[in-house]
């Protein structure tokens, strides 16, 4: 009964079009994913996908350093971009509760990007995936471009 690191993926030189965890065992209760991301182009977001199929719903509260807004977002994560302060990466956490259940999955995201400027997004997101199968794979994909070298993702299980 503890929180256990399953795997850390670090993007190597040349970047990566996505980060994917596969073969996730179904013998735990919750999933926690911690991310440090930077995109190769000026695109500040990324999405999550579980297994295959199903549809996603989201509601997001977003602050950008000068205003707050909310929407039914089409993305899950903030990502630093090619124009963010050099050597900075976004920080995000994802929690999926009861990920091996036969019900639709709810998830919670906290996400910020780092930038030495007024504009820096921070978001909290409530998400839902209609899939009723246990989550066995999880992929993080930038909206466009690639994740650059030194981007990392660490997957934990809580059992």
């Amino acid at each position: 009964m503890t929180m256990t690191l399953v795997e850390t993926i670090t993007v190597g030189s040349g970047g990566a079009a996505s980060i994917e965890f596969t073969g996730i065992a179904g013998d735990a209760r919750d999933l926690v994913l911690l991310l440090s991301l930077r995109n190769s182009v000026d695109s500040p977001s990324a999405t999550l996908s579980f297994n295959t199929g199903g549809t996603y719903s989201r509601v997001r509260l977003l602050g950008n350093g000068s205003a707050a807004s909310s929407d039914s977002a089409s993305v899950d994560l903030q990502s630093n971009t090619s124009v963010s302060t050099a050597n900075t990466f976004s920080n995000s956490s994802l929690c999926v509760s009861n990920y091996a259940s036969s019900a639709a999955k709810s998830y919670s995201v906290d996400s910020v990007n780092e930038n030495n400027a007024t504009l820096a997004n921070q978001a909290i997101i409530a998400g839902s995936w209609t899939g009723t199968a246990a989550i066995t794979s999880l992929e993080v994909t930038p909206t466009s471009g690639n994740f650059v070298e030194h981007s990392t993702a660490s997957l934990y299980i809580i059992s």
């Binding site: 709810s106 919670s108 409530a126 809580i158």
Partner: protein
């Protein structure tokens, strides 16, 4: 450096529609913080209004922010309430995560951070204070409105110092 832990202390799956689930006899040693995870549904909607130590006095304060599917943002606060608000569950599967800090402290009030994810309608974040110097020994998860549906899973984790 101490070994960090994230131990499941207790969990309960609601068997039939109910308005309250109580976890008593929480550990009095071994942990510093608690994390409560509520994953489930309400028949239509149910506000989650917990209490600690069966305390219905006016000892709970909070400030919250919200973003919703209508595109609105909101921030409100309340002081000296007789219970807490941890957000809401709806008939879609929802997720509430509450962090309770220093729950055994007898020399300070208890602080909480709570996230409520009701994806059909809104996402909320709460900061709360329980104005008591008593250690927290029990948590009652109250679902006002239509209550907690069967299948709702409530888990309490302990994080060691």
């Amino acid at each position: 450096m101490a070994t960090p832990t994230y131990d499941l202390i207790v969990s309960s799956t609601v068997a039939t529609l109910t308005t309250s689930v109580t976890f008593s006899s929480l550990p009095s040693t071994g942990y510093q913080d608690l994390v409560v995870v509520i994953n489930g549904t309400a028949e239509t909607e149910s506000f989650i209004r917990p209490r600690f130590n069966s305390d219905s006095g006016n000892n709970y304060s909070m400030v919250r922010m919200e973003g919703n599917t209508a595109g609105n943002t909101e921030s409100t606060s309340s002081a000296s309430a007789s219970d807490m608000i941890w957000g809401k569950l709806e008939d879609n599967n929802g997720l509430i995560i509450a962090q309770i800090f220093d729950y055994l402290a007898t020399d300070k009030h208890k602080s909480l951070l709570v996230r409520s994810n009701a994806v059909q309608e809104k996402v909320e974040a709460f900061a709360l204070r329980y104005a008591s110097t008593s250690a927290i020994s029990s948590i009652e998860i109250r679902g006002t409105g239509t209550g907690l549906e069967a299948g709702t899973l409530i888990s309490i984790y302990g994080i060691a110092a």
